[in-house]
């Protein structure tokens, strides 16, 4: 857990967040500050410890394979920023697959 310079732009790209230069600077500094704080975890011995994803110990929670009603189409589309012919319309997809 070194406090190296963080590639804030790279992280923002993964998170799909546009950042201004000023934000890159500001968030970069704040992230580095936080990482300095969390560096204290290094002092905690976790060598023989399992990771906790959930504090409750439930297992095998499932639902029966039963069909339940869907939302009405007009309700589905009510919040759509842009719709066409019952579809959600989005700007062109620059695919990794071209």
């Amino acid at each position: 857990m070194a406090t190296e310079r963080i590639d804030v732009r790279g992280v923002a790209r993964l998170a799909r967040l546009a950042l201004s230069d000023e934000e890159v600077e500001r968030y970069g500094a704040q992230l580095e500050d936080l990482l300095k704080h969390v560096d204290d975890l290094k002092q905690l011995d976790t060598s023989d410890v399992a990771a906790t994803a959930q504090v409750i110990e439930s297992r095998n929670v499932t639902r029966p394979d039963v069909i339940t009603p869907c939302l009405a189409h007009e309700v589905v589309m009510a919040g759509a920023p842009q719709a066409q012919h019952g579809f959600f319309r989005v700007p062109k997809i620059i695919a990794e697959a071209e």
């Binding site: 998170a15 799909r16 967040l17 969390v38 976790t46 399992a50 990771a51 959930q54 504090v55 959600f88």
Partner: protein, 493 residues
């Protein structure tokens, strides 16, 4: 009975006895809450029509012979919980105009128990914050000093109940978001065991930590509200499927035979002198009620903040990915879909949300996952184990709910100093334990004009809600701290 000042218990009794109608309660509360809110800013949306509709429904059910545990009780709902047909914003620009097409399980149960929805309350955006200041849609003030924050993230829900603009309210707590604002606003705020109240319809911040809980001006009101909302829900795979123990009918009056753990590592010497004195007095009051104080150790609690600020952002970075401008919410156009995403999310999220998304994305990214995320999950295991060990020596752990009373607006400009407000609540959240904040006195902050409320945090083993609320009730009845400080004039008049 004054519907504004009355407890939920009193209102429900009167409505069930048909001494007053739910509609009369609603007609009193609607203008009152609106007037108070001019000063408080607790609400983002009022739902007067819906409130009247529910009032009529409650009156009809009572007339038909039903007895409802929350009949006619005015309730405020945190704006990260879906309520069919109402705007549900998470206090974020990205959801500013979103109308929920379904109702959260907990909210549905609350209304089915007879509660009347006054409106949706302000909060830190996506429940990320400890002051309420991270709301993108409004400024909520502390009913005990309008220059001070109400706490967060359940800012409006705590302020509305503290300021008599609601009788009860719902909050959500991820690292302290019910307990800290409850302490700041002189109310009882209760976070049940993780999994006790369904999260279905609660807009997620950090899924493995989020838990819905009630605010009330008394422990009994909080207990009644919890009893109505809690229990297994097949729509939430993390909701626990075990017998639900009601609490409001098992409250107690003393603490005889109860071992109260005082955490060695949470020394009151770290606190301001009058704050420390208030907590010392609170611990003594517990003894007066028959409790035995025992020192317990939580050596890993100090790693709580670091653990939390890796796990919660990691989960939030993924949970908030769905806000992309495709299906609902804000969209800012772009030349292609990628640009649309980036502009939408840049415009839609506030600074704290962006900060946490960036932290979480970084903590999960290739090359850092083991060092940050997995390490934090392992630290979480150790913190939970410490609590288990501590509970071998005690029945409940007492501590401050927050490290100081409510602070003034813009006092915490450095993100980390804000994070420190939740020093006492976060380890409890990581362990998933039930815990609450109950008023325990007041202290006048440096430069402050009037005494500000303080909250005592009580935390107990998993699934011991009934015992926990019982202890808090005994303490509340004996001390009556909530009545010893008064909200500001504009709120009470």
């Amino acid at each position: 009975m004054d519907p504004v000042r009355a407890s939920a218990r009193e209102i429900a009794r009167a409505v069930n006895a048909r001494e007053v109608s739910a509609l009369e309660i609603a007609e009193t509360m609607i203008p009152h809450a609106a007037a108070v809110d001019e000063h408080l800013g607790a609400y983002l949306t009022f739902t007067p029509d819906l409130m009247r509709e529910h009032a009529r429904r409650v009156d009809a059910r009572v007339a038909a012979g039903e007895t409802l545990p929350l009949a006619g009780v005015p309730a405020a709902i945190k704006d990260n919980m879906c309520l069919l047909g109402t705007r549900t914003t998470c206090a974020s620009k990205i959801l500013e105009q979103w109308i929920a097409p379904y109702t959260a399980t907990a909210v549905g149960r609350l209304l089915a128990a007879g509660a009347l929805p006054i409106g949706k309350t302000n909060m830190d955006e996506f429940a990320m914050g400890s002051s309420g200041e991270n709301s993108a849609l409004g400024k909520t003030k502390n009913p005990y000093d309008l220059d001070r924050v109400p706490g967060g993230s359940s800012a409006g829900s705590a302020a509305a109940v503290g300021g008599f603009a609601a009788t009860i309210s719902t909050g959500s707590d991820t690292g302290g978001s019910i307990r800290e604002p409850a302490a700041f606003c002189n109310v009882v705020g209760f976070k049940p065991t993780y999994g006790r109240v369904s999260r279905y319809g609660l807009i997620a911040f950090a899924s493995s930590l989020d838990q819905i809980g009630p605010f009330g001006r008394t422990v009994e009101d909080a207990a009644l509200t919890y009893d109505a909302m809690g229990g297994h829900d097949p729509m939430d795979a993390t909701s626990v499927d075990r017998a639900f123990e009601t609490t409001a009918d098992h409250l107690r009056e003393d603490l005889r035979g109860v071992r109260v753990g005082i955490v060695k590592e949470f020394a009151t010497s770290d606190l301001a002198p009058d704050v420390a004195a208030a907590y010392e007095a609170a611990y003594n009051d517990l003894v007066k009620l028959g409790a035995e104080l025992v020192e317990v150790e939580l050596p890993t609690a100090k790693y709580g903040l670091s653990t939390y600020y890796l796990i919660a952002p990691a989960e939030c970075s993924s949970n908030l990915a769905r806000f992309d401008g495709v299906r609902y919410g804000l969209r800012v156009d772009g030349a292609d879909v990628g640009e649309m995403y980036e502009k939408t999310r840049a415009a839609g999220f506030g600074p704290e949300v962006k900060r946490r998304i960036l932290i979480g994305t970084y903590a999960l990214s290739s090359g850092y996952y083991d060092a940050y995320y997995v390490k934090a999950q392992k630290a979480r295991t150790r913190i939970a184990a410490d609590f288990r060990r501590a509970f071998e020596k005690c029945d409940v752990i007492a501590s401050p709910a927050a490290s100081a009373p409510a602070f003034t607006f813009n006092a915490k400009s450095d993100p980390y100093s804000m994070y420190l407000m939740d020093y006492y609540t976060i380890p409890v959240s990581l362990a998933g334990l039930p815990s609450l904040s109950v008023p325990c006195g007041s202290a006048t902050p440096e430069g402050g004009a009037r005494p500000m409320p303080l909250g005592l945090q009580l935390a107990s083993p998993l699934f011991t809600e009934r015992a926990l609320l019982g202890y808090a009730h005994a303490y509340e009845r004996a001390t009556q701290h909530a009545a010893k400080v008064a909200p500001v004039q504009v709120v009470t008049s």
